[in-house]
Symmetry: C2
Subunit: 221 residues, 2 copies
């Protein structure tokens, strides 16, 4: 915990299920969280909702305000808005650790599938758009349904943390470790993020087949 004590974590797209769920866990762990959204009022409403659930230190701002106010920033927006948002926040995110958890997926009658991303992955696209930030990829597979439910004390899953900056991936691993049940594990360089994002399609297929909220654990580690 020492590594992340006193940090303010920003959550871009913090009104969506994944962002809100992670925000809830980080607030519970004693971190200060700033919810970001396109509209500040929506972010404030989610911040109030979270404060009512678990107390703690949480506020809501528009995405640019959130990026500027936070020490570390999670990108949890829908893939459709990913490029445009990050292009607009290059200055606010300069020098900061950015965590991309976005999964570029499509859905058709046969279920989920991975979209082609010219840069290789959402995380690599973020890296290109944010040359002055320290981009990592993590938190792709944590069930939003489990995260957002305060009655579930432990979220039993590992979080793979990818990136080329050891200090940054270590800090993001620590941000995973503060969530009870979760283990942050280094998962490789950023160029290997595409398959981690795409793996979400397989987990959704597993959820449908087994009526589950599947996560992954790494064995022998």
């Amino acid at each position: 915990m020492s590594q992340v004590t006193g940090l303010t974590v920003g959550v871009l797209g913090g009104t969506g299920p994944q962002g809100k769920g992670l925000a809830l866990r980080w607030i519970t762990a004693g971190l200060a969280v700033v919810i970001g959204s396109r509209k500040a009022e929506r972010a404030q409403a989610t911040a109030e909702e979270l404060r009512a659930l678990v107390g703690g230190t949480v506020s809501g701002l528009d995405n640019a305000g959130c990026a500027a106010a936070a020490d570390v920033v999670l990108v949890a927006v829908p893939w459709e808005g990913h490029r445009e948002l990050l292009e607009s926040l290059r200055d606010e995110l300069a020098g900061k650790i950015v965590i991309d958890c976005v999964n570029p997926l499509g859905f058709d009658k046969q279920g989920p599938y991975a979209l082609h991303v010219p840069e290789g992955s959402a995380a690599q696209q973020a890296e290109k758009l944010l040359p002055d930030s320290r981009v990592t990829a993590a938190f792709h597979h944590v069930s939003a349904v489990h995260l957002v439910d305060p009655a579930i004390a432990e979220v039993a899953t590992d979080v793979l943390v990818l990136g080329d900056d050891r200090e940054a991936t270590d800090l993001v691993r620590a941000l995973a470790d503060v969530i009870p049940g979760v283990r942050g594990i280094y998962g490789g360089r950023l160029r290997n993020a595409g398959q981690i994002e795409a793996l979400t399609a397989n987990l959704i297929a597993i959820n449908r087949r087994y009526k589950a909220h599947a996560g992954i654990r790494i064995t022998d580690v």
Copy 2:
């Protein structure tokens, strides 16, 4: 077990570590195994080696003989020889369940990475080359080091089984379940095989960082 009792499993590339390791486990489970290799003598040598280790029913043939003799066929050849081998075995593999476990990976100074495969994945390439076979993808992540060591009684990992033919994926799951410690889990349609193959690059990165033989478990299933 009932589903796979009496089956003969062929292992193309059965002299390599992954193929040999899975062959050892299937022989131990009481299945008949035919090792395939480019040269029948090499296949026979591996078959004798396995028989000396664990007894059971195992023989060695060239790859074409192996494909013709088996009911179910695992493709465990290096990616470099994948296309050429499967093109040559279209007739022998017609009507059969084919299990592709090949991981198209490259390595450079920065470690492992996923190769671009025009068809999307090795498994989808197999499906294109073998229009009369029932192609599945599985056994990508099982540590060859663990499999091949008879002193390791249980191989604690899940095997994701992908494919569009329910009967075929169910049978392949049963082939995973006969290995102590292993669980066969449906992992999605064949079009989602690329990320499962590529995930091997992340597991290799994890192995290097943590000095482990990492595998995966699916939680909540």
